[in-house]
Amino acid sequence: MEAIEFTTPKTIDEAVQAMASKGDRARALAGGTDLLVQLRGGRRSADLVVDLKEVPELNEISYSPGSGLTIGAATPCYRLYANADVAANYPGLVDSASLIGSIQIQGRASFGGNLCNSAPSADAIPPMIALGAVANIIGPSGSRQVPVEDFCTGPGRNVLEPGELLVSINIPAPAANSGANYLRFIPRNEMDIAVAGVGSAVVLDASGQNFVSARIALASVAPTPVFCKAAGDSLAGKAVSDEAIEEAARLAMEDAKPITDMRGTIRQRIHLVGVLTRRTLNNAIKRARGEE
Protein backbone atom coordinates (compact mmCIF):
# COMPACT_ATOMS: atom_id res chain seq x y z
CA MET A 1 0.00 0.00 0.00
CA GLU A 2 1.21 3.50 -0.77
CA ALA A 3 1.84 5.79 2.18
CA ILE A 4 -1.26 7.40 3.63
CA GLU A 5 -2.10 9.85 6.34
CA PHE A 6 -4.66 8.77 8.90
CA THR A 7 -7.02 10.78 11.06
CA THR A 8 -9.71 9.91 13.57
CA PRO A 9 -12.25 12.74 13.84
CA LYS A 10 -14.50 12.74 16.89
CA THR A 11 -17.37 14.81 15.49
CA ILE A 12 -19.23 15.13 12.19
CA ASP A 13 -17.80 18.64 11.74
CA GLU A 14 -14.24 17.37 12.15
CA ALA A 15 -14.97 14.51 9.74
CA VAL A 16 -16.38 16.86 7.10
CA GLN A 17 -13.38 19.19 7.48
CA ALA A 18 -10.98 16.28 7.13
CA MET A 19 -12.76 14.94 4.03
CA ALA A 20 -12.98 18.42 2.46
CA SER A 21 -9.29 19.14 3.17
CA LYS A 22 -8.19 16.56 0.59
CA GLY A 23 -11.18 16.47 -1.79
CA ASP A 24 -11.10 13.33 -3.91
CA ARG A 25 -7.79 12.29 -2.29
CA ALA A 26 -9.56 11.57 1.01
CA ARG A 27 -11.32 8.25 1.60
CA ALA A 28 -13.69 7.48 4.44
CA LEU A 29 -12.88 4.35 6.45
CA ALA A 30 -15.57 2.36 8.23
CA GLY A 31 -14.88 -1.40 8.46
CA GLY A 32 -12.17 -1.25 5.80
CA THR A 33 -13.10 -4.62 4.32
CA ASP A 34 -13.34 -3.11 0.84
CA LEU A 35 -11.22 0.04 1.17
CA LEU A 36 -8.05 -1.57 2.55
CA VAL A 37 -8.17 -4.31 -0.10
CA GLN A 38 -8.59 -1.67 -2.82
CA LEU A 39 -5.80 0.58 -1.49
CA ARG A 40 -3.45 -2.38 -1.16
CA GLY A 41 -4.29 -3.69 -4.63
CA GLY A 42 -4.01 -0.28 -6.28
CA ARG A 43 -7.66 -0.17 -7.38
CA ARG A 44 -8.17 3.01 -5.37
CA SER A 45 -5.61 5.44 -4.02
CA ALA A 46 -5.80 8.07 -1.30
CA ASP A 47 -3.61 10.55 0.52
CA LEU A 48 -5.79 10.66 3.62
CA VAL A 49 -7.87 7.94 5.27
CA VAL A 50 -10.54 9.32 7.58
CA ASP A 51 -11.60 6.76 10.19
CA LEU A 52 -15.27 7.39 11.02
CA LYS A 53 -15.62 4.91 13.86
CA GLU A 54 -15.14 7.51 16.61
CA VAL A 55 -17.95 9.78 15.38
CA PRO A 56 -21.01 8.94 17.53
CA GLU A 57 -23.68 9.62 14.88
CA LEU A 58 -22.00 7.21 12.47
CA ASN A 59 -21.94 4.39 15.01
CA GLU A 60 -25.45 4.42 16.44
CA ILE A 61 -28.42 2.22 15.76
CA SER A 62 -31.66 3.81 16.92
CA TYR A 63 -35.26 2.75 16.44
CA SER A 64 -38.62 4.19 17.29
CA PRO A 65 -42.04 3.23 15.94
CA GLY A 66 -42.42 6.85 14.82
CA SER A 67 -39.19 7.61 13.01
CA GLY A 68 -38.14 4.09 12.11
CA LEU A 69 -34.59 2.79 12.09
CA THR A 70 -31.45 4.89 11.77
CA ILE A 71 -28.24 2.99 11.08
CA GLY A 72 -25.02 4.96 11.52
CA ALA A 73 -22.99 4.58 8.34
CA ALA A 74 -20.01 2.90 10.07
CA THR A 75 -22.02 0.43 12.17
CA PRO A 76 -20.76 -3.12 11.56
CA CYS A 77 -23.11 -5.89 10.37
CA TYR A 78 -22.98 -7.88 13.60
CA ARG A 79 -24.47 -4.99 15.55
CA LEU A 80 -27.50 -5.09 13.24
CA TYR A 81 -28.29 -8.73 13.85
CA ALA A 82 -27.42 -8.42 17.55
CA ASN A 83 -29.87 -5.51 17.93
CA ALA A 84 -33.26 -6.59 19.32
CA ASP A 85 -35.20 -3.83 17.51
CA VAL A 86 -33.62 -4.73 14.17
CA ALA A 87 -34.17 -8.45 14.69
CA ALA A 88 -37.82 -7.89 15.62
CA ASN A 89 -38.74 -5.31 12.97
CA TYR A 90 -36.36 -5.75 10.04
CA PRO A 91 -35.66 -9.45 9.39
CA GLY A 92 -35.04 -8.53 5.75
CA LEU A 93 -31.97 -6.55 6.85
CA VAL A 94 -30.80 -9.37 9.10
CA ASP A 95 -30.92 -11.68 6.06
CA SER A 96 -28.22 -9.54 4.45
CA ALA A 97 -26.18 -8.66 7.53
CA SER A 98 -25.74 -12.33 8.38
CA LEU A 99 -24.62 -13.48 4.93
CA ILE A 100 -22.13 -10.76 3.99
CA GLY A 101 -18.63 -12.24 4.06
CA SER A 102 -17.51 -14.26 7.08
CA ILE A 103 -18.10 -13.78 10.80
CA GLN A 104 -14.78 -11.91 10.76
CA ILE A 105 -15.97 -9.60 7.98
CA GLN A 106 -19.33 -9.07 9.73
CA GLY A 107 -17.36 -7.83 12.75
CA ARG A 108 -16.13 -4.89 10.67
CA ALA A 109 -18.11 -4.38 7.46
CA SER A 110 -20.97 -1.86 7.54
CA PHE A 111 -24.16 -1.31 5.52
CA GLY A 112 -22.98 2.27 4.97
CA GLY A 113 -19.68 1.05 3.58
CA ASN A 114 -21.45 -1.51 1.40
CA LEU A 115 -23.60 1.30 -0.02
CA CYS A 116 -20.66 3.68 -0.56
CA ASN A 117 -18.54 0.96 -2.15
CA SER A 118 -21.41 0.76 -4.66
CA ALA A 119 -20.65 -2.70 -6.01
CA PRO A 120 -23.40 -4.03 -8.29
CA SER A 121 -23.30 -7.22 -6.19
CA ALA A 122 -23.67 -5.48 -2.80
CA ASP A 123 -25.90 -7.68 -0.63
CA ALA A 124 -26.96 -4.89 1.74
CA ILE A 125 -28.43 -2.62 -0.92
CA PRO A 126 -31.46 -4.52 -2.35
CA PRO A 127 -33.15 -5.02 1.03
CA MET A 128 -32.54 -1.36 1.90
CA ILE A 129 -34.16 -0.31 -1.40
CA ALA A 130 -37.05 -2.73 -0.84
CA LEU A 131 -37.62 -1.21 2.60
CA GLY A 132 -37.60 2.36 1.27
CA ALA A 133 -34.30 3.42 2.86
CA VAL A 134 -32.96 6.97 2.55
CA ALA A 135 -29.27 7.96 2.75
CA ASN A 136 -28.39 10.96 4.93
CA ILE A 137 -25.39 12.75 3.42
CA ILE A 138 -23.39 15.68 4.78
CA GLY A 139 -20.72 17.79 3.14
CA PRO A 140 -19.09 21.20 3.18
CA SER A 141 -22.23 22.79 1.68
CA GLY A 142 -24.72 21.14 4.04
CA SER A 143 -26.75 17.99 4.29
CA ARG A 144 -29.06 16.24 1.84
CA GLN A 145 -31.09 13.07 1.59
CA VAL A 146 -31.01 10.60 -1.29
CA PRO A 147 -33.25 7.52 -1.65
CA VAL A 148 -31.00 4.46 -1.62
CA GLU A 149 -32.30 3.39 -5.07
CA ASP A 150 -30.83 6.64 -6.49
CA PHE A 151 -27.49 6.44 -4.63
CA CYS A 152 -25.36 4.24 -6.91
CA THR A 153 -24.52 5.56 -10.38
CA GLY A 154 -22.19 2.87 -11.70
CA PRO A 155 -19.87 0.10 -10.52
CA GLY A 156 -17.97 1.66 -7.59
CA ARG A 157 -19.55 5.06 -8.29
CA ASN A 158 -22.26 6.99 -6.47
CA VAL A 159 -23.78 10.42 -5.86
CA LEU A 160 -21.27 11.42 -3.15
CA GLU A 161 -19.30 14.49 -4.19
CA PRO A 162 -15.67 14.89 -3.10
CA GLY A 163 -15.70 15.91 0.57
CA GLU A 164 -19.16 14.46 1.22
CA LEU A 165 -19.89 11.75 3.79
CA LEU A 166 -22.68 9.24 4.29
CA VAL A 167 -23.78 9.81 7.89
CA SER A 168 -26.60 7.31 8.28
CA ILE A 169 -29.35 5.37 6.60
CA ASN A 170 -32.95 5.83 7.66
CA ILE A 171 -35.52 3.10 7.11
CA PRO A 172 -39.21 3.80 7.82
CA ALA A 173 -40.90 1.90 10.62
CA PRO A 174 -42.51 -1.27 9.27
CA ALA A 175 -46.18 -0.92 8.32
CA ALA A 176 -48.71 -3.29 9.87
CA ASN A 177 -48.80 -6.67 8.08
CA SER A 178 -45.50 -6.09 6.30
CA GLY A 179 -42.54 -8.36 5.67
CA ALA A 180 -39.28 -8.48 3.74
CA ASN A 181 -36.66 -10.98 2.64
CA TYR A 182 -33.31 -11.00 0.83
CA LEU A 183 -31.88 -14.03 -0.95
CA ARG A 184 -28.88 -14.40 -3.22
CA PHE A 185 -27.63 -17.27 -5.34
CA ILE A 186 -24.02 -18.37 -4.87
CA PRO A 187 -22.47 -21.69 -5.89
CA ARG A 188 -21.05 -22.23 -2.37
CA ASN A 189 -22.77 -22.22 1.02
CA GLU A 190 -20.97 -19.13 2.36
CA MET A 191 -18.31 -16.56 1.53
CA ASP A 192 -19.08 -15.74 -2.08
CA ILE A 193 -20.25 -12.88 -4.25
CA ALA A 194 -23.85 -12.96 -5.48
CA VAL A 195 -24.43 -14.33 -8.97
CA ALA A 196 -27.82 -12.67 -8.51
CA GLY A 197 -29.67 -11.34 -5.47
CA VAL A 198 -33.23 -10.15 -4.84
CA GLY A 199 -34.71 -8.17 -1.96
CA SER A 200 -38.50 -7.97 -1.65
CA ALA A 201 -40.76 -6.16 0.80
CA VAL A 202 -44.55 -6.42 0.91
CA VAL A 203 -47.36 -4.75 2.81
CA LEU A 204 -50.57 -6.82 3.04
CA ASP A 205 -54.03 -5.79 4.17
CA ALA A 206 -55.39 -6.82 7.57
CA SER A 207 -56.74 -10.09 6.15
CA GLY A 208 -53.25 -11.01 4.90
CA GLN A 209 -54.85 -12.02 1.60
CA ASN A 210 -54.22 -8.89 -0.50
CA PHE A 211 -51.19 -6.80 -1.39
CA VAL A 212 -51.33 -3.16 -0.35
CA SER A 213 -47.90 -2.44 -1.86
CA ALA A 214 -44.59 -4.09 -2.66
CA ARG A 215 -41.03 -3.11 -3.52
CA ILE A 216 -38.44 -5.32 -5.23
CA ALA A 217 -34.72 -4.70 -5.87
CA LEU A 218 -31.97 -6.71 -7.53
CA ALA A 219 -28.22 -7.27 -7.07
CA SER A 220 -25.55 -8.38 -9.54
CA VAL A 221 -27.64 -8.03 -12.68
CA ALA A 222 -26.75 -4.49 -13.85
CA PRO A 223 -24.01 -1.85 -13.36
CA THR A 224 -25.87 -0.72 -10.22
CA PRO A 225 -28.41 -2.26 -7.84
CA VAL A 226 -31.80 -2.17 -9.60
CA PHE A 227 -35.09 -0.91 -8.16
CA CYS A 228 -37.88 -2.79 -9.99
CA LYS A 229 -40.66 -0.24 -9.60
CA ALA A 230 -42.99 -1.81 -12.16
CA ALA A 231 -42.66 -5.26 -10.62
CA GLY A 232 -43.52 -4.01 -7.13
CA ASP A 233 -46.33 -1.73 -8.34
CA SER A 234 -47.88 -4.61 -10.29
CA LEU A 235 -48.77 -6.27 -6.97
CA ALA A 236 -50.50 -3.28 -5.36
CA GLY A 237 -54.20 -3.96 -4.78
CA LYS A 238 -54.03 -7.54 -6.07
CA ALA A 239 -55.00 -10.67 -4.16
CA VAL A 240 -52.01 -12.74 -3.04
CA SER A 241 -51.75 -15.48 -5.67
CA ASP A 242 -49.18 -17.46 -7.59
CA GLU A 243 -50.29 -15.63 -10.74
CA ALA A 244 -49.68 -12.18 -9.25
CA ILE A 245 -46.26 -13.25 -7.95
CA GLU A 246 -45.40 -14.79 -11.31
CA GLU A 247 -46.25 -11.54 -13.08
CA ALA A 248 -44.06 -9.55 -10.66
CA ALA A 249 -41.20 -12.01 -11.24
CA ARG A 250 -41.61 -11.61 -15.00
CA LEU A 251 -41.42 -7.82 -14.69
CA ALA A 252 -38.35 -8.06 -12.43
CA MET A 253 -36.66 -10.27 -15.04
CA GLU A 254 -37.33 -7.53 -17.62
CA ASP A 255 -35.43 -5.04 -15.43
CA ALA A 256 -32.37 -7.29 -15.15
CA LYS A 257 -29.61 -6.25 -17.57
CA PRO A 258 -26.78 -8.57 -16.54
CA ILE A 259 -23.50 -9.42 -18.20
CA THR A 260 -21.86 -12.79 -18.68
CA ASP A 261 -18.74 -13.10 -16.55
CA MET A 262 -16.82 -15.62 -14.43
CA ARG A 263 -19.69 -15.87 -11.96
CA GLY A 264 -22.58 -16.49 -14.32
CA THR A 265 -24.17 -15.98 -17.72
CA ILE A 266 -26.82 -13.50 -18.81
CA ARG A 267 -29.39 -16.28 -19.24
CA GLN A 268 -28.64 -17.85 -15.85
CA ARG A 269 -28.81 -14.51 -14.05
CA ILE A 270 -32.14 -13.51 -15.59
CA HIS A 271 -33.53 -16.94 -14.69
CA LEU A 272 -32.24 -16.51 -11.12
CA VAL A 273 -33.99 -13.15 -10.81
CA GLY A 274 -37.29 -14.90 -11.57
CA VAL A 275 -36.67 -17.69 -9.08
CA LEU A 276 -35.42 -15.40 -6.31
CA THR A 277 -38.21 -12.86 -6.83
CA ARG A 278 -40.83 -15.59 -6.36
CA ARG A 279 -39.04 -16.98 -3.30
CA THR A 280 -38.41 -13.64 -1.61
CA LEU A 281 -42.00 -12.50 -2.22
CA ASN A 282 -43.33 -15.73 -0.72
CA ASN A 283 -40.99 -15.43 2.26
CA ALA A 284 -41.93 -11.76 2.73
CA ILE A 285 -45.63 -12.72 2.65
CA LYS A 286 -45.04 -15.36 5.33
CA ARG A 287 -43.30 -12.80 7.52
CA ALA A 288 -46.09 -10.27 6.90
CA ARG A 289 -48.63 -12.87 8.05
CA GLY A 290 -46.55 -13.68 11.12
CA GLU A 291 -46.06 -17.26 9.91
CA GLU A 292 -42.33 -17.16 10.65
Binding site: L29, V37, G101, S102, I103, E190, M191
Partner: protein
Protein backbone atom coordinates in the same frame (compact mmCIF):
# COMPACT_ATOMS: atom_id res chain seq x y z
CA UNK B 1 5.73 11.09 3.52
CA UNK B 2 3.80 10.60 6.74
CA UNK B 3 5.89 9.57 9.69
CA UNK B 4 5.45 6.90 12.31
CA UNK B 5 2.45 7.01 14.61
CA UNK B 6 2.58 6.10 18.29
CA UNK B 7 -0.16 3.62 19.22
CA UNK B 8 -1.10 2.47 22.75
CA UNK B 9 -3.14 -0.70 22.94
CA UNK B 10 -3.63 -3.88 24.95
CA UNK B 11 -2.55 -7.21 23.53
CA UNK B 12 -3.30 -10.43 25.39
CA UNK B 13 -3.90 -8.39 28.53
CA UNK B 14 -0.59 -6.55 28.33
CA UNK B 15 -0.49 -2.78 27.78
CA UNK B 16 1.55 -2.40 24.60
CA UNK B 17 2.97 0.60 22.77
CA UNK B 18 4.30 0.54 19.24
CA UNK B 19 5.21 2.80 16.33
CA UNK B 20 3.83 2.11 12.88
CA UNK B 21 3.10 3.73 9.54
CA UNK B 22 -0.60 4.43 8.94
CA UNK B 23 -0.56 2.12 5.92
CA UNK B 24 0.60 -0.90 7.92
CA UNK B 25 -2.03 -3.49 8.80
CA UNK B 26 -2.49 -4.79 12.31
CA UNK B 27 -1.19 -8.11 10.95
CA UNK B 28 2.05 -6.47 9.79
CA UNK B 29 2.39 -4.72 13.13
CA UNK B 30 1.90 -7.95 15.08
CA UNK B 31 4.37 -9.91 13.00
CA UNK B 32 6.96 -7.39 11.82
CA UNK B 33 6.93 -4.69 14.52
CA UNK B 34 6.10 -6.71 17.63
CA UNK B 35 7.60 -10.04 16.54
CA UNK B 36 4.40 -11.91 17.40
CA UNK B 37 4.51 -14.37 14.54
CA UNK B 38 1.84 -16.75 15.80
CA UNK B 39 -0.73 -14.88 13.71
CA UNK B 40 -0.28 -15.99 10.10
CA UNK B 41 -0.59 -14.20 6.79
CA UNK B 42 -2.52 -16.18 4.20
CA UNK B 43 -4.33 -14.21 1.50
CA UNK B 44 -3.83 -10.71 2.94
CA UNK B 45 -7.25 -9.65 1.63
CA UNK B 46 -9.73 -10.92 4.19
CA UNK B 47 -10.77 -14.18 2.57
CA UNK B 48 -8.80 -16.90 4.37
CA UNK B 49 -9.00 -16.10 8.09
CA UNK B 50 -5.42 -17.19 8.86
CA UNK B 51 -4.76 -13.82 10.51
CA UNK B 52 -7.88 -13.92 12.74
CA UNK B 53 -7.54 -12.11 16.08
CA UNK B 54 -10.08 -10.93 18.64
CA UNK B 55 -10.45 -7.15 18.36
CA UNK B 56 -12.57 -5.54 21.09
CA UNK B 57 -14.51 -8.75 21.59
CA UNK B 58 -15.15 -9.67 17.93
CA UNK B 59 -13.06 -11.84 15.65
CA UNK B 60 -11.64 -9.93 12.69
CA UNK B 61 -9.07 -10.55 9.99
CA UNK B 62 -6.09 -8.51 11.17
CA UNK B 63 -4.99 -7.94 7.55
CA UNK B 64 -8.08 -5.72 7.15
CA UNK B 65 -7.43 -3.62 10.25
CA UNK B 66 -4.87 -0.83 10.23
CA UNK B 67 -2.30 -0.89 13.03
CA UNK B 68 -3.29 2.68 13.92
CA UNK B 69 -6.87 1.47 14.53
CA UNK B 70 -5.58 -0.52 17.51
CA UNK B 71 -5.37 2.63 19.65
CA UNK B 72 -7.13 1.98 23.00
CA UNK B 73 -8.40 -1.43 21.85
CA UNK B 74 -8.23 -4.89 23.45
CA UNK B 75 -6.66 -7.51 21.19
CA UNK B 76 -6.25 -11.24 21.73
CA UNK B 77 -3.95 -13.23 19.45
CA UNK B 78 -3.09 -16.93 19.35
CA UNK B 79 -0.26 -16.15 21.80
CA UNK B 80 -2.92 -15.25 24.37
CA UNK B 81 -4.89 -18.51 24.16
CA UNK B 82 -2.72 -20.92 26.17
CA UNK B 83 -1.93 -20.29 29.84
CA UNK B 84 1.25 -20.99 31.83
CA UNK B 85 -0.56 -24.10 33.09
CA UNK B 86 -0.92 -25.55 29.61
CA UNK B 87 -2.78 -25.54 26.34
CA UNK B 88 -6.34 -24.27 26.06
CA UNK B 89 -8.89 -27.11 25.58
CA UNK B 90 -9.42 -25.96 21.98
CA UNK B 91 -5.70 -26.32 21.29
CA UNK B 92 -5.62 -29.71 23.03
CA UNK B 93 -8.59 -30.90 20.98
CA UNK B 94 -6.97 -29.80 17.70
CA UNK B 95 -3.85 -31.79 18.64
CA UNK B 96 -5.69 -34.91 19.75
CA UNK B 97 -7.96 -34.93 16.69
CA UNK B 98 -5.11 -34.28 14.25
CA UNK B 99 -7.05 -31.25 13.04
CA UNK B 100 -4.04 -29.73 11.32
CA UNK B 101 -1.51 -30.68 8.70
CA UNK B 102 0.64 -27.80 7.44
CA UNK B 103 -0.53 -25.61 10.32
CA UNK B 104 -0.70 -22.21 8.62
CA UNK B 105 -4.47 -21.91 9.12
CA UNK B 106 -4.42 -23.34 12.64
CA UNK B 107 -3.89 -20.19 14.75
CA UNK B 108 -6.80 -18.52 12.96
CA UNK B 109 -9.02 -21.57 13.43
CA UNK B 110 -8.18 -21.77 17.12
CA UNK B 111 -8.82 -18.08 17.79
CA UNK B 112 -12.12 -18.27 15.86
CA UNK B 113 -13.17 -21.50 17.57
CA UNK B 114 -12.44 -20.18 21.05
CA UNK B 115 -14.48 -17.05 20.27
CA UNK B 116 -17.41 -19.26 19.21
CA UNK B 117 -17.29 -21.61 22.20
CA UNK B 118 -16.91 -18.72 24.66
CA UNK B 119 -20.29 -17.45 23.36
CA UNK B 120 -22.02 -20.66 22.34
CA UNK B 121 -20.69 -23.65 24.30
CA UNK B 122 -23.29 -25.93 22.68
CA UNK B 123 -22.87 -24.89 19.05
CA UNK B 124 -23.95 -27.76 16.77
CA UNK B 125 -22.07 -28.92 13.68
CA UNK B 126 -24.03 -26.65 11.35
CA UNK B 127 -23.33 -23.63 13.50
CA UNK B 128 -19.64 -24.56 13.78
CA UNK B 129 -19.29 -24.91 10.02
CA UNK B 130 -21.09 -21.59 9.48
CA UNK B 131 -18.96 -19.77 12.07
CA UNK B 132 -15.74 -21.16 10.61
CA UNK B 133 -16.68 -20.48 6.97
CA UNK B 134 -14.27 -17.52 7.03
CA UNK B 135 -11.33 -19.79 7.88
CA UNK B 136 -9.91 -21.72 4.95
CA UNK B 137 -7.88 -24.92 5.27
CA UNK B 138 -6.41 -26.48 2.15
CA UNK B 139 -5.13 -29.63 3.90
CA UNK B 140 -7.64 -31.29 6.19
CA UNK B 141 -10.92 -31.16 4.32
CA UNK B 142 -12.43 -29.65 7.50
CA UNK B 143 -13.93 -32.85 8.98
CA UNK B 144 -11.14 -33.28 11.51
CA UNK B 145 -11.40 -29.60 12.43
CA UNK B 146 -15.14 -29.87 13.05
CA UNK B 147 -14.60 -33.04 15.12
CA UNK B 148 -11.95 -31.21 17.14
CA UNK B 149 -14.34 -28.34 17.84
CA UNK B 150 -17.06 -30.75 18.99
CA UNK B 151 -14.45 -32.47 21.18
CA UNK B 152 -13.34 -29.10 22.58
CA UNK B 153 -16.96 -28.43 23.61
CA UNK B 154 -16.90 -31.62 25.69
CA UNK B 155 -13.49 -30.77 27.17
CA UNK B 156 -14.61 -27.27 28.15
CA UNK B 157 -17.65 -28.66 29.97
CA UNK B 158 -15.68 -31.33 31.79
Amino acid sequence: MPGLVHVSTTINGNPTDFLCEPRQSLLEVLRDVLGMTGTKEGCNDGNCGACTVVFDGRIVTSCLVLGVEAQDKEITTIEGVATPEGLHPVQQAFLENAALQCGICTPGFIVATKALLDREPDADEGRIRHWLAGNLCRCTGYDKIVRAVLDAEDKMKA
